[in-house]
Every structure is written in C-alpha cells, then in structure tokens.
C-alpha cells in the first residue's frame, strides 16, 4: 500500500518537477544567421546585400562585414567558441576573425582563420571571453557577390 502510494506520489512529483524545471535557463548553443552581418565601415553600407540565407558583398572590391555573436552566458565557463559557415566561389576566398571585448571596452583577444577559405566551409574559432564579455566575427568578403556568410553558430 505504502509502495503504491509512493509510486503515485512519485509520478506526481515527477510531473510537477518536469513542469517546474522546464523553464530553467541554461547555456545553450545559438545559431546566428548571416543576415545579421553588417558593413564594418560606414561608407560601405550600400555594398552589402542580403539573401534569405546570409550576407554577401556586391562591390567589385572586397568588403568587411561584422557579425554579432549572440550568447547566453549563464555559466561561468571561460572562452567563446563558434563555427563560421559560408561559401566562397572558385578563385575567391573568405577570411574571418572572431574577437572579444570586455564590458568596459577592453580588447581581450582574437582568433582568425589560419588560411582563407574557398568553397563551402565550416570553420571553428575560439577566443578568450567570460560572463560579461561580448564577441563578434569580422569577415572579409570577396567582391562581386563571390562569397556569402551563412551563419555564426555559438557552441556553449
């Protein structure tokens, strides 16, 4: 009898527990679309074009775009880790740098693609960072719509 009662109560407890804790915040991965990337230099705003799947450069010369790295910093883990996904047409390249700044504007560090990428790529980058720091990715896009940044995926 007691066992049955315990079982019943356990089910209720489990049910209540699952409902109660389902709304908890955890450090989760976050996929940031390349459509959030913007021109790094103000005068080049009209050079950057957006597709449903990302951003590209229409100017004949290469252009920098800066992409936000949106994180959910609920853990005390040190460092920022991302994957940058994109594509560069044959004969064109894309290079990117992940960098981080402290909440007071202090530069913490950066990591760049060791070699510029051609074709479809999924490049991992990591940099110093903590609870209050913020990070972005700067990419140099080839001219004439020769490359696209699809997304910046944060791994936490």
């Amino acid at each position: 009898m007691k066992t049955a009662l315990s079982f019943g109560l356990s089910l209720v407890v489990g049910t209540l527990g699952s409902v109660s804790f389902s709304g908890e915040a955890h450090a989760v991965n976050s996929n940031n679309s390349g459509t959030a990337c913007k021109n790094y230099n103000a005068s080049q705003v009209a050079d950057i074009d957006y597709l449903p799947s990302g951003a590209r450069n229409l100017n004949a010369s290469s252009r920098y775009v800066v992409c936000p790295v949106v994180r959910s910093t609920t853990s005390a883990s040190y460092g920022v880790s991302v994957y940058v996904d994109g594509f560069a047409a044959a004969g064109k390249t894309i290079s990117c740098t992940l960098y981080s700044y402290d909440y007071n504007g202090t530069f913490l560090g950066s990591q760049s693609f060791p070699t510029a990428r051609t074709g479809t790529f999924d490049q991992h980058l990591s940099v110093a960072g903590h609870y209050w720091s913020n990070a972005s990715v700067l990419c140099l896009l080839p001219g004439s719509a020769g490359g696209i940044i699809y997304d910046v995926d944060v791994v936490q």
Partner: protein, 221 residues
Amino acid sequence: MKLPRITLIAVPMLLGVILSLTYLRPQPLEKSDRSGSVMPIRAPQSTAVAWGGTTANVDGITALRDQVESLRAELSSLRQQMLRQAQPASASSDSRAGADVRLDPLARAEAAREHETHVASVDAAFRQQAADPTWSASTSSAIRTALSSEEVGNIQADNIDCRADSCRVELRDDGSGSLGKSLPILAQQLAGALPSITASSISQANGDSALVLYLSRQVEQ
C-alpha cells in the same frame, strides 16, 4: 514513435492519481530529503477518516490535493536552491540570496582575475621561448608592415618582440577608439602567420593606457 508532450505529462499524472485513489490508506506519509533521511510531511487531518464511501473519497482527494500543494512548496524550495547553485562560483561570495550576478562587483573582479591568469600563462609561455632569429625577423617585419598599412590606420608600436612561436607587441591607446576599430583588421592581416591573439590592457607610468598583444602562430583550442 514520439508521443505529444502533453501525453507524457498527463498520463503519469492521471496514473498517479488513479493509483493513489485505489490504494490510499490513512497512513503517515513519508518522503526523503536531499540528504536521504526520511522526513515526515504534513499529513492532512482528513486522512484519519476511514476509507470507503463518498465522503471518504472526497476526503481522499482533498488529502491528495493537500499533499500536492505540499510537494509544490518543496519543489519551489529545491528550485530556488538549484538556481543559487547554478550561479558562477565567484558569486557565492555574495551572501544575498538571489542576488543578480551581473551586478556583483566581486564576480566581475573574479572574471577580470580569470583573464589576467590566462594572460599571465600566455606571457610565461612567451618568455620561456628561445628566440628563432629567422622567424623573429620576418614576423616582426610583417607586423610592422601591417601596423603601418592605411587600412589598419598607421599604428605605431612601442615594442615588438618576437621569439620562436609568438610575439609580444605593445601598442599605445589614445582612447579615441581608432585602435579598437583597427584591431580586428590587424588580426585579419596577420592571420596567415599569427592567427591567435591574447590581449591585456596595462597602465603606463605617465597615466596613459597601453595594449599588450601576444600574437601566436599556434591556434588555441
């Protein structure tokens, strides 16, 4: 086959209620706390009524309702404890329950110390390196070229010291923001030779601020 979430929640709950109604007897209730010891919980007075008949059923349901309320309170308490434990370890110094770690100066200081520790380890590794004259000369030259480029903004370095795997570069920061704007572009231009940069801000004797960059050809993982 994936069941709808509502099914996963509702079925065990319903099953629990049915089983409890079927087998419930007026017995003292027990539960375990986090330490594993058995603690009595509030036993509703109505459970003292003999089981059987409509009145007893109603009383039984009332008792269950009371027990569920009691469990809700326990879960709420446990949830608060879990939230406090989920805060960064540095925040534990703050004795205020439920304090926002974002506003905690001690936690911020701890984060700054963590970065300083990281920089200290990078600096120690740099100083342990023997000089590689060939690599040092070519890399120093590449850094000077990048710093003086128009795109980076013709930045003057106070000191450039390259060893075997990494370089230490001191840059003066005039606080105008131009150095900050240039740093990611500098990192891009040097990516082929030095893909990783660790930075630290230092105060100089004259009160100005300087930025120390440790540029490495090793990619940190």
